[in-house]
């Protein structure tokens, strides 16, 4: 499904160059639920951004369904992000002037769905995360946990091949976090591929595989049930 080979990411600050990823090799198969863990600065979010094509690596390559992304045009990458990927961000990243329903509809409209079809799919996605009664609420009228569920609905409404989640429970209380992780578990159960960055052991354990990172390198990559 997704594979990274010798992935390097470095940032330049004047003359100084900082390598955040130091040659990562990782392969995620379809249907897997992977947790990427590590302490702050380990490079886990940076790895997620490279795998999800939100950022360009400084070296190495990312393959999506066997295709190298190094040779892809920006438009092709945008198309993959739109059609094949779904994103859940730590701070929900909802548009404040769009209702829950409209936030979920937006990428569907971009994919070419007619308004009614987009509305119908968005409603179904929001129903899946238990937010049917809050369709018309603006993000400011929702709790943090509800906003994150809208964010998940937006990410899954178009049935993406891979769902990327960057610390989705970091800003949530225990109850909301548990609910979000519960949704991920349900999605995984029906075959959704999920790659999630988290620093919470408890939530990592519900995934099938834990990749531990430190200092830009993978320290361990093992089944969470091992």
């Amino acid at each position: 499904m997704i594979e990274a080979k010798q992935l390097v990411k470095s940032f330049k600050d004047g003359e100084r160059e900082t390598r955040v990823l130091k040659g990562i090799d990782i392969k995620v198969a379809q249907g897997e639920f992977v947790a990427i863990m590590g302490r702050s600065g380990a490079g886990k979010s940076t790895l997620l951004y490279q795998l999800s094509l939100l950022d360009e690596p400084s070296g190495g390559d990312v393959f999506v369904e066997g295709r190298s992304t190094r040779l892809m045009s920006q438009n092709e990458e945008i198309k993959i992000r739109l059609l094949s990927f779904g994103y859940v961000f730590q701070d929900y990243a909802l548009l404040p002037e769009l209702s829950a329903l409209e936030n979920v509809m937006l990428p569907l409209l971009m994919q070419g769905y007619a308004k009614e079809a987009a509305r119908s799919k968005a409603t179904a996605a929001l129903s899946r995360v238990g937010l049917l009664p809050r369709l018309l609420n603006l993000p400011s009228q929702l709790s943090g946990g509800e906003q994150q569920r809208v964010s998940i609905a937006r990410a899954i409404a178009h049935d993406p091949k891979v769902l990327f989640a960057d610390e989705p429970t970091a800003n949530l209380d225990r109850e909301s976090s548990a609910r979000v992780i519960g949704i991920f578990k349900e999605l995984h159960a029906v075959g959704q591929t999920i790659i999630m960055v988290t620093h919470e052991e408890e939530y990592a354990r519900v995934t099938g595989r834990i990749v531990k990172m430190d200092d830009g390198l993978i320290l361990s990559d093992a089944s969470s049930r091992a």
């Binding site: 951004y49 939100l54 950022d55 945008i78 198309k79 992000r81 739109l82 059609l83 990927f85 994103y87 961000f89 990243a93 548009l95 404040p96 002037e97 769009l98 409209e102 509809m105 937006l106 990428p107 409209l109 971009m110 994919q111 070419g112 603006l138 937006r154 990410a155």
Partner: protein, 419 residues
């Protein structure tokens, strides 16, 4: 670039951003657009209106809609009485004034003058003989009498002086006109026309703007002037005709010419009779107005640029997220173009309504009194629509550029708020 999907998504975003934006912010931007629109139209409109005010006064007080004057080779309009009869019989001619004109001199304080080496208190003048009732019906001349009274049909030795002849109202000396001192209603002055002298009484003083045709005229009864000038042919020098509402001046002029009046008189529509140079002055004032208006346009463009730039900059994270989840940059840019378009159209629309619903009719009914003329607001609808198009186009560009600048930034940098 702006595919149907991009337009659809851009519109979807724009409508909601506008609908849920702060009412105060939206009102303020629309207000700026409104002021810019009015600045664009009104500055030019008033400048042109100053000249228009002069020409309108000329039409109101002097030429009417169709104007007959002596042929270049003649001293007066031949067969004047037959022409007047013909014109009076035509239903389009609503008001008719006829005038006799003669050059003369006026001398005031002639009785008190003791030192004959001093410059006399006198001036040359164009004396206009009128039939007071017809003239007042034609031009409303009586309402310009600021001091004294208007002429009566039975007057013998009465004159009305234009403001330029009275030093306290005059805008200064002119090459052939020296304002008279110590002249009031009731003052006796010596009038000399064609070698004949008559002591006349100042019955009234007409006060108008400097460029009004009344300012440089002296009025007396037509029959008295004709007698003074030794004219016995009953011909006149000018016939001015105001047409009934809806009648076309050019068509009426052509009708008179077809009737053979061109052999005895120069027949002109109001536009033909506009003094030379007025069109050039109008164009000059319009150019000045456009120059001033374009400064306003630049200010509006910069305002919209800053507003959209700040809006896009503060929303940079959201723009990054939109791009991250696959919304194209073009769709995001289009949403900002739509917002700019909204501000321009609403601002211009309100301005248009204020302009034609209030300003134009109000200023037309109550001209702005300026020393040079009674200015009106000239704003032809086609010209205003062109200005709206220019304002809209400028606003679109001013909105598109900052949106593009922000959208082109690295997606992840935008999401993470990195510079």
């Amino acid at each position: 670039m702006f595919s149907l999907t991009n337009i659809r998504v851009g519109w979807f975003l724009a409508v909601r951003q506008i609908r849920r934006a702060s009412l105060w912010t939206t009102s303020l931007i629309v207000f700026v657009m409104l002021l810019t629109f009015l600045n664009l139209v009104i500055v030019t409109g008033i400048l042109v209106g100053i000249v228009q005010g002069i020409t309108d006064q000329f039409r109101l007080l002097e030429t009417g809609d169709v104007y007959l004057s002596a042929l270049a080779t003649e001293d007066y309009i031949g067969n004047s009485q037959e022409i007047l009869s013909l014109v009076r019989s035509l239903p389009e001619a609503e008001k008719i004034a006829y005038r006799t004109i003669a050059g003369g001199t006026l001398e005031a304080n002639y009785q008190n003058r003791t030192d004959f080496s001093e410059k006399p208190n006198s001036t040359s003048a164009s004396i206009t003989g009128i039939e007071p009732v017809a003239e007042n019906k034609f031009s409303g001349l009586a309402k310009y009498v600021a001091e004294g009274e208007y002429l009566s049909p039975g007057d013998y030795d009465a004159v009305l002086l234009g403001s330029q002849f009275v030093d306290r109202y005059s805008f200064g000396e002119m090459p052939t006109l020296t304002p008279l001192k110590n002249v009031y209603p009731g003052t006796k002055i010596r009038l000399t026309v064609n070698g004949s002298t008559r002591i006349v009484t100042v019955k009234g003083i007409l006060v108008t703007t400097a460029n009004s045709p009344l300012a440089l005229k002296v009025f007396m009864l037509e029959r008295e002037l004709a007698q003074l000038a030794g004219r016995t042919d009953q011909n006149v020098d000018e016939i001015a005709i105001k047409l009934a509402p809806g009648a076309d001046a050019e068509a009426f002029r052509d009708l008179l010419l077809r009737s053979g009046l061109g052999e005895d008189a120069k027949v002109q529509s109001f536009l033909d009779a506009i003094p030379n140079g007025i069109a050039e002055i109008t164009n000059t004032f319009a150019a000045i107005g456009n120059a001033i208006g374009s400064v306003g346009l630049a200010v509006a463009a910069i305002t919209i640029f800053i507003v959209i730039f700040i809006n896009a900059l503060t929303r940079r994270k959201f723009i990054g997220i939109l791009k991250g989840i696959g919304i194209s940059g073009e769709a995001i840019e289009f949403s900002y173009v739509c917002q700019s378009l909204f501000y321009a159209i609403i601002g211009s629309g309100i301005g248009f309504a204020i302009l034609y619903g209030f300003l134009v009719p109000y200023i037309s009914a109550h001209p702005i009194s300026l020393p040079i003329s009674n200015a009106i607001l000239v704003a032809p609808v086609p010209d205003t629509l062109i200005r709206i198009a220019i304002l809209t186009l400028t606003t679109i560009i001013a909105g598109y550029l900052p949106a593009r600048m922000i959208v082109r930034k690295n997606t992840l940098d935008s999401i993470l708020g990195r510079n």
